[in-house]
């Protein structure tokens, strides 16, 4: 949901923003174009391809100064971004599904080296069987790699979040993945507002500024980048003597990141007039709700629509869309969910032998409460399976029934699968 600010006029009023009809992939490409990116290294994979196609048009037409590296695989795409970012460049790439899986090894390296790379993940199911449609199993595969993960609900948010991502990454010194649902957002046309180029340039503070760090053997503070004048090694050996300490840097950086995501979101809201909850969670009708459903990505809109309909019929239901998945907003979510009788957690992925990945997080968020809501996990929409409102309504009816009974027998349920 987009909230256009009513309180104060945004710095760039809507009439000064350009209304464009684009799909989600194009929206991301336009955002990257405005972000003064030095290097884009990418390999095309459905449903991400349009991002790279569109961006290579900008490069070919001389509309950007970006060095475009058409690599032979996603492993190389992320490697090239790591190299570029280590040299001080602002770097971007995009991928989906098996491409993201192929990047896996380098994702960890990007995060551990604290390189502020931005990656658009156009969420798609992982093989086998081969499936090009929307599913969050790709994003969940990179869950523990140390990347900040944000999920957009619509094309406008995909555009806004991509711009925010560069600022978040460079402040937090962590790479950021912007997730948008394959086809539902990537290939769907929407009218969106785009900021003027100079407003984005100013918002980001111009080209990337490299963070400084003190290095003993140089005896001074230097920019943490590959620079022959101040030689540094990136990614050398660090055994049991210091590896653990270096991991603490990432733990700490993730703690900081939540604040930064909020700050950058608020600052962007002042500029554009658009905000998404508080930047990390987007609650709707949760105040007195007996049943609250959590959801990620584009399904958020469907769930909200069903909540609106059920509210009109007098049902006390609400929903909260989780916008920031890593770092996970445990405390904030607990505050919202603690009054509910039943919480339904929607997952467009499953951890085989366990539950859906976000169910585990919500469970953890609520565990310390003395009076806990009952919890149910709904795995839905795998491989792009449609999630129509009547299916969501059926879920709410089940959850209301659970609330009445006060017990949950079947904790893991599958929404929309044929028996």
């Amino acid at each position: 949901m987009i909230f256009f600010s009513k309180k104060s006029k945004p710095k760039i009023p809507l009439e000064k923003q350009k209304l464009m009809t684009v799909n989600g992939d194009e929206a991301v490409a336009y955002a990257v174009k405005q972000c003064y990116v030095d290097v884009v290294a990418a390999y095309p994979i459905t449903p991400q391809t349009i991002i790279v196609e569109k961006y290579s048009e900008f490069v070919a037409d001389g509309e950007v100064h970006t060095e475009f590296i058409p690599v032979e695989s996603e492993h190389s795409a992320m490697s090239a971004c790591v190299g570029a970012a280590a040299a001080g460049a602002r770097a971007f790439t995009a991928t989906a599904a098996n491409g993201l899986a192929l990047m896996w090894e380098i994702l960890y390296i990007a995060a551990s080296l604290r390189l502020p790379i931005v990656l658009a993940v156009v969420n798609r199911a992982l093989s086998a069987p081969i499936n090009i449609h929307c599913d969050h199993s790709d994003a969940m595969g990179m869950r523990d790699s140390g990347w900040i993960q944000i999920f957009a609900e619509n094309v406008q948010e995909a555009y806004d979040t991509t711009i925010q991502a560069f600022k978040i990454a460079e402040k937090a010194l962590l790479p950021v993945a912007v997730n948008l649902d394959g086809f539902f957002l990537s290939h769907t046309l929407e009218n969106i507002y785009m900021l003027p180029d100079d407003a984005v340039y100013e918002f980001l503070g111009g080209p990337r500024k490299v963070a400084k760090t003190y290095v003993d053997y140089l005896g001074k503070e230097v920019e943490a980048k590959l620079d022959p004048a101040n030689p540094l090694s990136f990614g050398p050996l660090d055994l049991y003597d210091y590896y653990f300490e270096h991991k603490m840097h990432q733990v700490e950086a993730m703690k900081e990141a939540k604040k930064i995501v909020k700050e950058v979101h608020d600052e962007y809201a002042e500029l554009s007039g658009r905000s998404y909850g508080d930047g990390i969670l987007v609650p709707y009708e949760v105040e007195d709700a007996d049943v609250i459903v959590t959801v990620l990505g584009s399904t958020g809109g469907t769930v909200r629509w069903v909540v609106k309909k059920l509210r009109q019929k007098g049902y006390k239901v609400g929903t909260v869309r989780i916008r920031l998945f890593r770092p996970f907003p445990f405390e904030e979510l607990r505050e919202i969910l603690k009054g509910a009788k039943v919480v339904g957690v929607m997952d467009r992925a499953i951890s085989f032998g366990s539950f859906g990945p976000s169910f585990l997080e919500v469970n953890t968020a609520l565990y310390d409460l003395k009076e806990k809501p009952l919890l149910v996990n709904y795995v839905y929409g795998l491989g792009g399976r449609d999630v129509p409102p009547d299916l969501v309504e059926k879920m709410f009816m089940e959850l209301l029934e659970d609330a009445k009974k006060g017990v949950v027998e079947n904790k893991l349920r599958f929404l929309g699968v044929r028996e």
Partner: protein
């Protein structure tokens, strides 16, 4: 973060994640070696095949003869395998 601190350091006193605060030369990577190469200088014809093939750049060439830098030799035996005149023998490290 300020000047030099003694070892072992806490995480707050390290440079940005995964950047070393000391030279990588100080990381001796030969300490898990099980076999060590021994060069028979009388057989060696100074072809430098061992120098070329060593993955650790642990073969040293001073212009007169080859020797092994045991701080970095991991004992893989590639040099012994490649030596055309079998001048290199791999012998077990003492195990105490």
């Amino acid at each position: 973060m300020s000047g030099s601190k003694p070892e072992p350091r806490g995480w707050r006193d390290l440079p940005l994640s995964a950047l070393p605060y000391k030279l990588s030369l100080e990381y001796k990577t030969g300490d898990w070696r099980a076999l060590r190469p021994v060069i028979d200088q009388s057989k060696c014809v100074k072809c430098l095949m061992c120098w070329l093939f060593c993955p650790e750049m642990a073969i040293l060439w001073d212009g007169k003869q080859v020797s092994v830098n045991l701080d970095y030799c991991k004992g893989c035996g590639i040099c012994a395998h490649e030596c055309p005149v079998k001048a290199i023998k791999m012998i077990p490290e003492p195990t105490e």
